[in-house]
Amino acid sequence: MTSYTICVFTENTIGILNKITTIFTRRRINIDSLTVSETERKGISRFTIVIHHESREAVEKLVRQIRKVIEVLAVFGYLNDDIVYNEIAMFKISTPIGAKPLDIETINKVYKAWVVYWHLTYVIIQKTGTEEEIFEFFDYIKPHEILEFVRSGRVAVSKSPQTLVDYLPEAEWEYYQ
């Protein structure tokens, strides 16, 4: 199974999420993660969808079906080598009185993770990175008792020097604000 990152640029309209995801549902393709936000251009949303699939051909067909959605402006399928990508994770770690103290230096310097909230009995640590990096940190921090763990979907940009506007139809594309 290969990991594919599918980037979809759409008009930002109500219901577009359903229109995109139903294409995966119908083909029984599970979405590993999905992140949507408005791009730097006004009115254009970017979907970053991660799937695992054994057939590149099937993914190419999927991309063509997504392109058929009227509100979709452009769709790209990437392998991991084609993109720079990251996720964000948050760990709520138990720190009761008398417990082994956290090694903040290791957390910061080795794992590039940051404590973003202190409480009397727990801390919240934020870690960005690839899925592998996040789970390496997960293994490291696990002995401290993870009270809660949450991981975002992947965000990704392609390594290609082209910009979003290069892919869009000719128009005056205003910046998002």
Partner: protein, 586 residues
């Protein structure tokens, strides 16, 4: 400078004298109808109800400009709109209420998307403040129809109406056509627009750019393969009729002398008399076309999508052949069959571009190979079907007699099942755009309302619906619509008291375990008469001619019931999952 009271009054009094009269603002419902009129809509198939009532109130004022046809069930509206769209090439329009009105359209919408039929469905919705509250007759029709529409949109402000309707028509008709659904909340229908009504046709969208003219390099690559091929075989589908490319297709096959076969929905694009026409493809298609699919060296697929009913087992389908695929929908390229030379664009433009690039050729020997199979098929199947020794009438006889009497020039609307396959096999289509049927979805109950819609679209042509007894009872109530309109739709029921195709499969693949396929039918003629439609039953071969003559001579709607052989099978047949070359003759 200060005004005193008097001066101020003077200024106020002067205002009306110089002000331009404000244009009258119309409400959303009037905007709906005026937008439809601006799009050239003359006929709407619909059914009123609570959430669409304001639009129906508005229609009352436009009856001299728009013909509204009251169907008896919303499914009938959808199929009638499809029949209209298929004969005219224009967008069929449905108008229904929310909830059950909308869900009743769903089968027709699903049918239209798979058969690329342009349709705009306007659906009433509960008022916007009630959305999501499980209000009376509220249903999430937007969610329901996402997978079966080319586009859908919910209007909650009257001001949106003209622009969205224009967009709907553009999307429904352009590129690969399809159904569009517009859900309009009741308050959007009722409220006044805040600006004067203006309808501008949509010609372009920011995110949707159907490619009409194919790329020249793609056309050149296709021409090269065509010129090199020794045993080329052209398949034409519904895309030819949608693009109105029949003339170009005939020029192409005549210049290249390539044998051409039709898909189910491509039927009638080329006359059966044409020397290059070799029959139709697929599960119940012709013997030679199926076998020789696995012997050609090039397939030129024009406006068709390699449906599984055409290909059978893909792992054993035309493995020896290269493929040129002319198709307007890029998502169809390589979806089923890998194309060696894809040509993305409108079939008419693509063929026009190809014509000067392809060489004149002679494939007489290759075409003659089809004839050898035709002889076998004729002896084993066609002649026994057309000149049976059994007592009961066979479906093929009815169809061929009708074909002869109408000179192959009627608009034939077939429902789904054995009678549909028999119609495709035995009606000898001579005129383009003459066969309307539910190909992709296989919707039983399609033909009666679709035939009605076809007659509205083509009032000057003879329209004959050919329907099985099972299918007929799925939309039988549309007899009421036909009767009320008075349009002379001719209806033939081929009655075998069975769900014939299912029975055939049970016979062949389920050891004759006829599980719930026998029907106890009503007296169809009495029912038709109850609706005010005349008709009669033909049960004997010697009466068939007269029966058809009587039906065709009628200037009113007419129902002819023909009692046909009960356990008849449609052959040839490529069983599901079998290879096309292993087509069965018995």
């Amino acid at each position: 400078m200060e005004f005193n009271e008097n001066q101020t009054q003077t200024i106020q009094a002067a205002e009306p004298a110089v002000a331009v009269a404000k244009p009258e603002l119309i409400n959303g419902s009037h905007a709906v109808i005026q937008s439809l009129i601006a799009e050239g809509v003359e006929t709407i198939f619909g059914y009123p109800g609570g959430a669409i009532m304001p639009v129906y109130d508005a229609i009352y004022d436009y009856q001299d400009q728009v013909n509204h046809i009251l169907v008896r069930h919303e499914q009938g509206a959808a199929h009638a709109a499809e029949g209209f769209a298929r004969t005219t090439g224009e967008v069929g329009v449905c108008l229904v209420t929310s909830g059950p009105g909308a869900t009743n359209l769903v089968t027709g919408i699903a049918d239209a998307i798979i058969d690329s039929t342009p349709m705009v469905c306007i659906v009433g919705q509960v008022a916007s403040h009630l959305l999501g509250t499980d209000a009376f007759q509220e249903t999430d029709v937007m969610g329901i129809t996402i997978p079966i529409t080319k586009w859908n949109y919910q209007i909650t402000y009257a001001d949106e109406i003209p622009e969205i309707i224009a967009k709907a028509f553009y999307i429904a008709k352009s590129g690969r056509p399809g159904p569009v659904l517009i859900d309009i909340t009741k308050d959007a229908q009722q409220k006044l627009m805040t600006k004067p009504f203006a309808h501008k046709k949509c010609e372009k969208l920011i995110s949707y750019h159907p490619r009409l003219a194919p790329k020249e390099d793609q056309v050149a690559a296709a021409a090269k393969l065509i010129n090199q091929a020794k045993r080329p075989f052209l398949f034409f589908g519904h895309g030819v009729q949608i693009a109105k490319a029949e003339e170009q297709l005939i020029k192409f096959i005549e210049k290249t002398d390539i044998p051409a076969a039709s898909t189910l929905l491509g039927l009638s694009s080329v006359s059966v008399d044409h020397p290059n026409y070799v029959g139709w493809l697929g599960m119940h298609g012709n013997y030679g076309t199926n076998v020789l699919t696995n012997q050609c060296d090039l397939i030129i697929a024009v406006g068709m999508r390699f449906d599984d009913r055409v290909t059978g087992d893909l792992s054993r389908y035309a493995k020896q052949a290269k493929v040129v695929h002319i198709e307007i929908d890029p998502a169809e390229i390589d979806k089923i069959m890998k194309a060696d030379a894809p040509v993305v664009g409108d079939a008419k433009i693509a063929l026009e571009m190809l014509l000067p690039l392809v060489k004149e050729n002679n494939h007489e020997g290759w075409r003659a190979e089809f004839k050898k199979f035709d002889v076998i098929e004729d002896q084993k199947i066609t002649q026994p079907e057309l000149a049976p020794t059994t007592e009961k009438i066979k479906m093929a006889e009815v169809i061929r007699t009708l074909s002869n009497k109408t000179k192959g020039e009627a608009v034939i609307v077939a429902d789904v099942g054995q009678h549909q396959m028999m119609t495709a096999r035995y009606y000898q289509f001579k005129k383009a755009n003459s066969f309307i049927t539910s190909g992709g979805l296989g919707t039983m109950g399609y033909a009666l309302p679709a035939a009605f819609g076809a007659k509205v679209g083509a009032p000057d042509r003879e329209v004959v619906a050919i329907i099985g007894d099972g299918c007929f009872q799925m939309t039988i109530q549309e007899l009421g619509t036909i009767a009320q309109s008075g349009l002379p739709v001719k209806i033939i029921i081929l009655n075998n008291n069975f769900l014939g195709m299912v029975r055939q499969w049970q016979q062949l693949f389920h050891a004759k375990r006829y599980s719930f396929v026998e029907l106890q039918n009503p007296d169809f003629i009495t029912i038709a008469k109850g609706f005010g439609i005349n008709g009669h039953t033909c049960s004997a071969r010697e009466n068939l001619n007269d029966s058809l003559d009587t039906m065709l001579a009628s200037d009113k709607p007419y129902l002819l019931e023909v009692l046909v052989e009960k356990e008849e099978n449609v052959f040839p047949m490529v069983p599901t999952g079998a290879c096309v070359a292993d087509i069965r003759l018995e």
